[in-house]
Amino acid sequence: MPSLDDLKKRISSVKSTQKITKAMKMVAAAKLRRAQDSAEKGRPFSEKMNNIILNLSNSITDKENASKFLVGTGKNNVHLCVVITADRGLCGGFNTNICKKAKNYFEQILKEGKTLKIFTVGSKGHDQLKRVYGNKIIEKKNFKGYKKITYKEAEEIGNKIIKLFNESQFDVCKIFYNKFKNVITQIPQAQQIIPIENLKNDEKEKSDNFYEFEPEENEILDNLLPRNISTQIFKAFLENAASEQGSRMTAMDNATRNAGDLVDKLTITYNRSRQASITKELIEIISGAESL
């Protein structure tokens, strides 16, 4: 049985932890609103970009000379996986979920005997992956110390990927990130960006060969597709930022609640043992008096 003093210390320590988690929850809630806002504001750009690319790729007649970003290199041997995680922990399963999704995919690739290359964005993902896949990581990048991640940073990463692609370092590129569904649900996503797949079907699709292009379709695609990579990465950043805050908020809410439960339990134990020691002292006094 711990002494009364020990219990008292324990209670106050749990209480101060609770204060911290509560503060973190509030901060995450405030940041979440902003992150969600910018994720929503960023959506039109990537949606419209998708639409244009869809229209363009539908009307391409000369498929042989089409951009490699659209049709791929014709091979499927080297896979580049871009794992986008946060730079901070204490956000529940946020980072782990992305890594789990990525690891499953890595195993599948390696089983098929293909070459795997990893590009980690965000320090938490790098920490989790470097133990097992350390020798596969060819690039890493984190944004510690950045207040806000802007399009410029996404472009920087996009340009790196494009450079690697132009040097024929890989054939297929996938990005891993968390898609923000709502505050409690974030879905880890694997999205293939080179070659492009799964373009959303839209009602506009029916209007094939309807646009006028200036210059040629292929020339526009050559110019547009590299830019689309940065756009997709930026979209992943925005979704990730919102997911991170949502995930942290839920995690910290749980932590606060658990700390509250613990404080209640400890307080009961504390009161019981206090009562026990009082009773014990009384018995000693009474029995002392009786023996006289």
């Binding site: 399009y151 006028e212 200036e214 210059p215 547009l224």
Partner: protein, 131 residues
Amino acid sequence: MSDSFKFEIVNPEKIIFSSDVKMVTLPSFEGEMGILKGHVPIITFLRPGIITAEVEVKKFEEFFVQDGIIEYFNDNLVILSASVENVKSLSKEFLDDLNKNIQDELLKKDITDNDRYILNHKLDAIKDIRV
């Protein structure tokens, strides 16, 4: 307002400008292009320059772009660009910096004709803004 159409400028972070306009003049890659309502659907990309939108008669909004892609479809004009600024909000420092960068780039020996074409247009656009 039967002769106006919807015009939007979108950057990766937000929608910068959205309004009904009468006419838009934009620097497409192969030359200046004026778009009025009922233009044929078109997709093209931009070279550096100034986009002028006539919101109402004799009332203009001007934007400086360095690159971007445009789509006109069904009386909707959309410009997607990562580098677009309202001319009114451009600072002198920004223009000076850009000007200096371009001059440096132009002096490099290994630039292609295409790069040079784009850089020269940037210079012209900056000059236009200053006047």
